[in-house]
Amino acid sequence: MFSEQAAPTAQGLLAPPSAEPPTFPRVPVSGYSDCSQPFQLGERSFSRQYAHIYAVRLAGMRPGLERRARSRWGTDISLRKLSELQAGEKCCVVGTLFKAMQLQPSILQEISEEHNLVPQPPLPKYIQPSDELILEDELQRIKLEGAIDVQRLVTGTILAVYGSEQDDGRFLVEDHCLADVPPPLPWNGPSSDRFVLLASGLGLGSVSGEALLSTQLLVDVVTGQLGAEGEQSCAAHITRVILAGNLLSQNTQSRDTINKAKYLTKKTQAASVEAVKMLDEILLQLCTSVPVDVMPGEFDPTNYTLPQQPLHRCMLPLASAYATLRLVTNPYQADLDGVRFLGTSGQNISDIFKYSSMDDYLEILEWTLLAGHISPTAPDTLGCYPFYKSDPFILTECPHVYFCGNAPRFQSKLLQGKEGQRVLLVTVPDFSATQTACLVNLRDLTCQPITFSGFGADSED
């Protein structure tokens, strides 16, 4: 794909210098529009409770779910609220799911003195067989049992259940459905090969320098310094680079300055300062050659709650001098050359991973698309801004490329929806661990991983 056209001239540079080496112009951006306004917060006020976000989420998704329920179980089914339930009557209820988990970290338990609990160490998964599902609507809640996979679902999902209320007060589920893939967007993609490079988890500032050469090789390929002429001309078709979070490594997050005595940390600099300087230089090299969108991630110097606001340009003085640098939010939505991209830096997927039996990041990514919501577990277990007017994480239209960053490995899948939707699902791997980035071809929605490596003392490559 990327390199087939390059093959003929592969060995061309193993020769004495030729007269005029060609330079290739970067394919210009034909259409770009940033659609992440819902994720940009202006004035922020945290005085509201989180109940409002659940209320608007349910109100926003209820119509779509009712339509889905009717199309699935018949138009004559009765849609009831929980307060209208009658014992034994088969009906359909739309509500928010709550999963009661014993192992879920609770701050109240931690600080409670009567329990005398040592704070629970972070576990990879918090699920247990004894977890229970509860459906809540605007006024009441009811326990669910029956044909529903308790382990797989997570808190905050809006779903429709079909069944009947039992005498013991529980709801016996016969079938349930999620919101399904949102309505499709028209396709205006390019007719020639155009690539977008997706990379995440650069992890600058980490103690080990193994990934540094790979990062440099990545920059060199994109800016057209590396490779023979064929490869360079292919690289000129990379129209954009999206860095999906975790530009800084987790090591830069040390909180020594808070824990240690002042006299020990007086003249020490935060590790993130050096790392951000390195990031600035790398971004400068990229920005002089290609438009770059930088999304913040879990370990980046921005706010913790979703939606994460863009990094401030004062941290990147060299790179922000160029108009090709765009500092964007997490999640990020944009139209690139007529193709709608939507993606996050991976916090939403990894949070669902912790509270669900699903193990595969791609499976979880697909599941969030089917559930119609980017991050159902926010604000329960994932920090979120207390929205009250509308929930911006509800998926109202189906993107063409849906990605998540910082996944353990690269995976991609082209999903076909019932209404003609075509979505490319991509899990972008953590670059500092895998030295792999993704190249998405906008023409045919295919994705290819690109791996970089140097040589070590005992490597066999």
Partner: protein, 395 residues
């Protein structure tokens, strides 16, 4: 010919300096297109190997191509040592590019020297890092300065135009590669420095104006310059020296002009307006006075004539004092100010004698002059503070 020249260059770098020559390093050093650099390296290796001169050359190659991995076709880009080149090429199903990555004399254990060489050369050429690249991006233009908003820019631009030299001299900030932060620095510092430089001129202007206007108005107008004096302390000894130099010729000038009292009045009068700053200054000034003397003596040592200076100051103080005494002493802040100033025990021998005579009024008069010196000391105190901090660490 240029052809042979590059061969000699590479030869020099590799054999004499025993360094790692990567294609990128060569490209920046010789100012050639990256592809030409790669070809030059290849050419050099070929010729050297033909010559069989005995010097061992180790070469690393870049190989890129398609690889079947985990069920999908992965594009692999790898830097390999020469001995592993064929192995890597055989692994790839399609080869997209092969070229020389670097030449060095020593056998490399791992690729970190390559990274280091590239990092260093890019760091020194950050401003034109895509100059020799094979891809040109038309959209990559620096943002025009108005796009990068700097709030103080508009406020201080008129002053900057007035005193660009003063700002440059005081700041010592040269224009640097990264534009926005140093310019902002320059802007903010320049604003204060410009105000500092313009302050003597301002006081001249205001002195003339005050002759006509009521003191109240002049107090208001003198407030900014006084404030600037307080804040100027934080900037550069150069600023202080400049102020000092300005104030010393100022004083003789003021002696000649009749507007002296208004100036002296203006400054103490302005302090009621800056009462908030005064108490803060007083607590510092108590300690400052001691250091004030120290710094004064220091400065006196720096300039040759210690005794000349003191009598001068004393004289000026005397003259000021007399004029202040003649005016009505209805400045409320003046009585409080003697208390910290009376603590200025360690003063040069001739001065205390005069001081005891003119104590209450001397403080008034010196309030104006002392104010300036107090400000100076405020700034030098900061230096001592920093020194103590450093000494505390080392000691």
């Amino acid at each position: 010919m240029a052809d042979e020249l590059y061969l000699e260059n590479i030869d020099e770098f590799v054999t004499d300096q025993n360094g790692v020559v990567t294609y990128k390093w060569l490209s920046y050093t010789l100012g050639v297109h990256v592809n030409q650099a790669k070809q030059m390296l290849y050419d050099y290796v070929e010729r050297k190997r033909k010559e069989n001169s005995g010097a061992q050359l180790h070469v690393t190659y870049l190989v890129a191509g398609n690889l079947l991995q985990n069920g999908h076709v992965c594009h692999k880009v790898a830097v390999v040592r020469e001995d592993k080149l064929e192995a890597m090429k055989s692994k790839l199903s399609t080869i997209a590019s092969v070229h020389v990555y670097s030449i060095q004399k020593a056998l490399l254990k791992d690729s970190s020297p390559l990274y280091n060489t590239d990092y260093d050369i890019v760091k020194t050429n950050l401003q034109h890092c895509s100059k020799f690249s094979a891809i040109r991006c038309a959209a990559a233009v620096p943002r025009t300065p108005p796009d990068a908003p700097r709030a103080p820019a508009s406020a201080q631009s008129p002053q900057r135009q007035r005193d660009p030299d003063a700002a440059g001299a005081v700041n010592g900030h040269g224009p640097s590669a990264a534009k926005p932060p140093p310019q902002q620095h320059k802007g903010i510092m320049g604003m204060f420095a410009a105000k500092a430089a313009s302050k003597p001129q301002d006081t001249h202007k205001e002195a003339k104006a005050e002759a006509k206007e009521a003191p109240g108005v002049s107090a208001a107008s003198s407030k900014p310059p006084t404030k600037n004096n307080i804040m100027n302390n934080f900037f550069g000894k150069a600023a202080m020296n400049k102020l000092k130099v300005n104030s010393v010729p100022e004083q003789p000038k003021e002696e000649k002009e009749v507007v002296k009292p208004s100036v002296a009045v203006a400054e103490p009068e302005s302090s009621p307006n800056t009462v908030a700053q005064k108490p803060g200054k007083k607590t510092e000034s108590a300690r400052i006075q001691q250091k004030d003397k120290k710094s004064k003596t220091k400065r006196a040592d720096r300039s040759d004539d210690e005794e000349e200076r003191d009598p001068e100051n004393v004289k000026k103080k005397r003259k000021r004092i007399k004029q202040l005494q003649s005016d009505s002493s209805d400045e409320e802040d003046v009585p409080p100010s003697p208390t910290p100033e009376e603590e200025r025990a360690p003063s040069p021998p001739p001065v205390p004698a005069l001081k005891t005579e003119l104590e209450p009024a001397s403080t008034e008069g010196s309030a104006g002059g002392r104010k300036r010196k107090r400000k100076r000391v405020l700034k030098s105190k900061m230096f001592i503070d920093e020194e103590e901090g450093c000494m505390g660490k080392t000691g």
